[in-house]
């Protein structure tokens, strides 16, 4: 059997699986040598690294992540409510390493897009053909007056899961009966749009069980929020008048935090809390700024088809750090953007143009530990922008029977198992 014939047979076999274009002899040679660096080991980065390892088994895939473990934000509000342990939120990178991904435990401190090099805080450098940044969010300390890392000990944000989640849980446990919980919600955009209101629901559930005379006040810098009608109906149904929501137009927006006095100041008045949760202003993770991929908004403009930065060639950005509206900053979005981005990177390395497609998102929020509501969207990403598909998406039906919301609670649990398995396990 001649080498030429045998190669044709191989390519015929592979092309039936839709892989022929990737593995034409010329493109195989290119992709075999490719070096791809992924920065950030959350839902986006871990999924991207695994997807690339599967698509390009001969390429060098490196995942740069400073932490030994990832603590997932989705479902962390159940930890606050005392009905879930933080261990169930915690994931290691051993499965990724076993798949041939080089997991480098370091912080990426700089990117030189001209020499295509990532600098790490251990002074080493990694060269890349394609770089994928999945840096998540940074808390924008000081953007809310008085809110800095010291204030976050007295007034936890718990908007990055882990120690902060446990700190806020301990403060809720220690709060006296009849106490006041204050939540401050920053102006959009921020990570997990329905997250603050799921949090309010689950904290109220804890208070109802253990401190029924307590009160929860949401001081909101927004006038509307995700799944608002469904949340407010659930609050009335389950928690009576325990939760008070104060919108921006109703002087709800917090302009200053005073951690020493345990007070939040709005334009109109001052509220004192026994427990205060500040969901502060946010922006793209710092490495995105160091790489030059952040615009004046603090977030990363991208080509929605390829996820390549609109500002820096050769650098792709996925997940919470991106400007992807109407796609939300969610784990679901990050995971899916990672898979699509990995495919587009493989296409580019094979000399093929990125191909537009259709993406979807669903965000579940628990209103009690057993019941959930959801919001979905479907998005086309042709011509470099995300456009919601008309007639698709929307929220759970209002006034659905309890069994419907319990079913959505079960779906949320299945979603968490599936997405964490795909990203980490």
């Amino acid at each position: 059997m001649s080498a030429r014939l045998s190669r044709r047979r191989l390519l015929a076999t592979l092309s039936t699986l839709g892989l022929g274009a990737l593995l034409s002899p010329a493109s195989l040679a290119r992709t075999a040598k490719a070096r791809i660096v992924v920065v950030g080991g959350g839902f986006g980065g871990a999924t991207a690294a695994r997807s690339l390892a599967r698509l390009l088994p001969a390429a060098s895939i490196t995942l740069v992540e400073a932490s030994r473990h990832y603590v997932a934000c989705p479902f962390s509000n159940l930890v606050l409510a005392g009905v879930r342990e933080i261990e169930a939120q915690t994931f290691a990178y051993s499965a990724l390493a076993a798949e041939g991904i080089e997991v480098v435990r370091a912080r990426a401190t700089n990117v030189d897009a001209v020499t295509r090099t990532v600098t790490l805080d251990n002074s080493t450098g990694l060269s890349y053909d394609r770089l994928i940044l999945s840096p998540g969010i940074d808390l924008h300390w000081g953007a809310l007056e008085g809110y800095d890392p010291n204030a976050a000990v007295r007034m936890p944000h718990a908007w990055k899961a882990g120690k902060q989640t446990l700190l806020l849980r301990e403060q809720l446990l220690a709060m006296p009966e009849g106490g006041v919980v204050l939540m401050s919600v920053t102006a959009a955009p921020f990570r997990c749009p329905p997250g603050p209101y799921e949090r309010a629901s689950l904290i109220a559930g804890y208070l109802k069980r253990h401190k029924p005379r307590a009160k929860l006040i949401i001081l909101d810098s927004n006038d509307a929020f995700s799944k608002q009608g469904l949340f407010q109906a659930a609050w009335r149904q389950h928690y009576g008048d325990m939760i008070e929501w104060r919108s921006a137009s109703n002087f709800g927006g917090v302009i200053r935090a005073d951690a020493r006095a345990m007070e939040l100041h709005t334009d109109f008045d001052t509220e004192r809390g026994d427990v205060i949760n500040v969901i502060p202003p946010q922006r793209a993770g710092r490495i995105a700024e160091r790489a030059g991929t952040v615009d004046a908004s603090g977030w990363c403009p991208i080509d929605a088809t390829s996820f390549e930065s609109a500002l820096v060639p050769g650098v792709h950005v996925i997940g919470d750090a991106t400007i992807a509206a109407p796609m939300p900053k969610s784990a679901f979005s990050a995971n899916q953007q990672a898979k699509v981005c990995a495919i587009q990177v493989a296409r580019l390395l094979a000399g093929l143009a990125p191909e537009p497609t259709t993406l979807a998102n669903t965000c579940y929020s628990y209103t009690t530990p057993e019941s959930a509501i959801s919001v979905s969207g479907v998005y086309n990403n042709a011509d470099g922008v995300f456009i919601s598909v008309p007639g698709a998406g929307g929220v759970s039906p209002m006034g659905a029977p309890p069994v419907f919301q319990q079913r959505e609670g079960e779906q949320a649990a299945d979603w968490f198992r599936a997405i964490t398995r795909e990203a980490f396990l």
């Binding site: 080498a3 190669r7 274009a21 698509l55 088994p57 495919i343 191909e355 979905s376 299945d414």
Partner: protein
Amino acid sequence: MRWQALLIAFLPWLAGCGGVATGPTGIDQAALLTASCSGCHAEGGQAITGLTGMPATELEAKLLAYRDDAGGGSAMHRMARGYSDEQIGLIARTLGD
């Protein structure tokens, strides 16, 4: 025999590494579209079913039923409304048996 060696080298990948490897298995439109499915649909799910072993015709019929059931309020109903006949057919042929 080189092609056989190459094919053997890629076999674990083509077979999904015995269920260990995750992520897309191709770089075409089928792989792009089905990237929306695998983040929820895993084996062992109770309220969100796995898709392994479902015949393609059955999967296509289910997706079309979700899309065309105007009164349905589940997340699948809401998402299926965003897909064309052609996209649903391609998803079903890709994920179904």
